[in-house]
Symmetry: C2
Subunit: 270 residues, 2 copies
């Protein structure tokens, strides 16, 4: 597996076009995508057999803060409206393969696992609103510290859909008090990429016992006055896969997202 | 049928609670809902057999400006998360019944048509953002004139989903030039109820030949400098039903919406 702390994008990978990023990942590069192809929107991926697609689509509709849908493919399709030339089987840096809710592989390419009945769901990513937070002067501690954003499985249950249920997963960013209003407003203007925070302040309100032990991503240091701010996270469908055990699913590996062709600012409602 | 110009809500019906409005409609009152239970969000309805539910859900996902989903029920359910005590078979003022894409009835109650395999889709309504337009000082010509908002079938095709395809339907509001920015901003802040306009200015860009002959609702007079402003409309699924001919569907009658318990302002992202 690949859970060691990571070095985020450097000047070279930040300047990549989305097409270049996808080409590098297709060649096997397996780096985290935070900061890669800066300015272009990334997406979470979950692919399930057609027999489970209605439940997944309904699960996303019923949990729009965690699972804002940017695209849903036709069964078997390996392309997406989010990019002109992408192949969803090869163009992410790393995938997770799930059988009966168990993680069985983390390859950099899923051609060997692909099935013609797979429906792929591309879900908005909070990296997209980080552009707006940074533009408003909100410091991004995980970026300053060269780490992936920390994510936590909460005790908040999603609204279930058919056979799919599971907890909400959240990402956490430490925000100085004087920037809290900016962070809420700027992310709130981007509902297609999770929108406003679901909670600010007390991790225990979400059933998170220890901020230093995220379930996905890396731990991040809070400055003395920082408030932990929690946003619903596109890893939530992975938690539903783990809880609900469909016979088969593919997802991105947390922090290793699909890089699309749309600009971050296209997801701002104003 | 029921296409004559209508008198909109009076002081009594404006002051109704959503629960009272639903109770009156359940008793058979068949008035348009514009202005009824002022301040509470209304919704479009389309119900299709479970066999068609995936296509409808995907159609809505792929056309989010026209079909922003507020709730999708489990098959056969007559209740919705949008109201605590509602019965979707009786609580709208008037329905349309569709067989093979043909309108076969417009009853005030669909208990006689109900099927246990029906999945109901409740879709955001532009009446909800009219609250914000009015608060920003944008005049609402159709309300001033006591008419239902005019709606037009455009030549813009929706993104298809399985067996469902069809044109985008739009609602039109005349807006004075000095209020155009307000109208765009205020509706843009409410993406769950259609969001910003899809077009301002030239009706022919949408394939609309004659503003005085709407396909649904009533014609509305423009003041001399008014700009016609077009928003994607929740009647779009009805146009898809007419174009794609599922064996059976129920919808609301245009302008006779479901009145839910949520306040209009809950759909504003800020």
């Amino acid at each position: 597996m690949d859970d060691r702390p990571v070095v985020l994008a450097d000047d070279t990978t930040r300047a990549w076009s989305p097409r270049t990023a996808r080409a590098r990942f297709r060649e096997g590069l397996a780096i985290p995508t935070a900061g890669v192809a800066a300015g272009y929107a990334q997406a979470n991926l979950v692919s399930v057999p057609a027999d489970w697609a209605y439940d997944m689509l309904l699960f996303c509709q019923r949990n729009p803060r965690a699972c804002p849908l940017l695209d849903v493919t036709d069964a078997g399709s390996t392309s997406t409206v989010l990019a002109s030339d992408a192949d969803l089987r090869t163009d992410l840096p790393r995938y997770r393969v799930w059988e009966g809710g168990e993680l069985v592989d983390e390859p950099t390419d899923v051609r060997a696992y692909w099935r013609d009945d797979l429906v792929s769901f591309l879900i908005g990513c909070s990296f997209t609103f980080e552009w707006a937070l940074a533009a408003a002067g909100v410091p991004l501690r995980h970026v300053e510290q060269g780490r992936n954003v920390p994510m936590y499985r909460t005790t908040w249950q999603c609204r279930s859909a058919g056979r799919l249920s599971g907890p909400m997963v959240v990402s956490m960013r430490p925000v100085p008090p004087e920037h809290l209003d900016d962070a809420i407003r700027e992310s709130g203007l981007m509902p297609a990429v999770h929108g406003a925070p679901v909670h600010c302040g007390d991790p225990s309100a979400l059933g998170v016992d220890d901020l230093d032990r995220p379930d996905f991503g890396d731990r991040v240091e809070l400055a003395p006055d920082d408030i932990p701010v929690f946003w619903a996270c596109g890893v939530t469908p992975q938690a539903a896969v783990m809880a609900s055990r469909p016979p088969f699913a593919l997802t991105h590996a947390p922090g290793r997202m699909f890089v699309g062709d749309a600009r971050d600012e296209q997801f701002r409602v104003l």
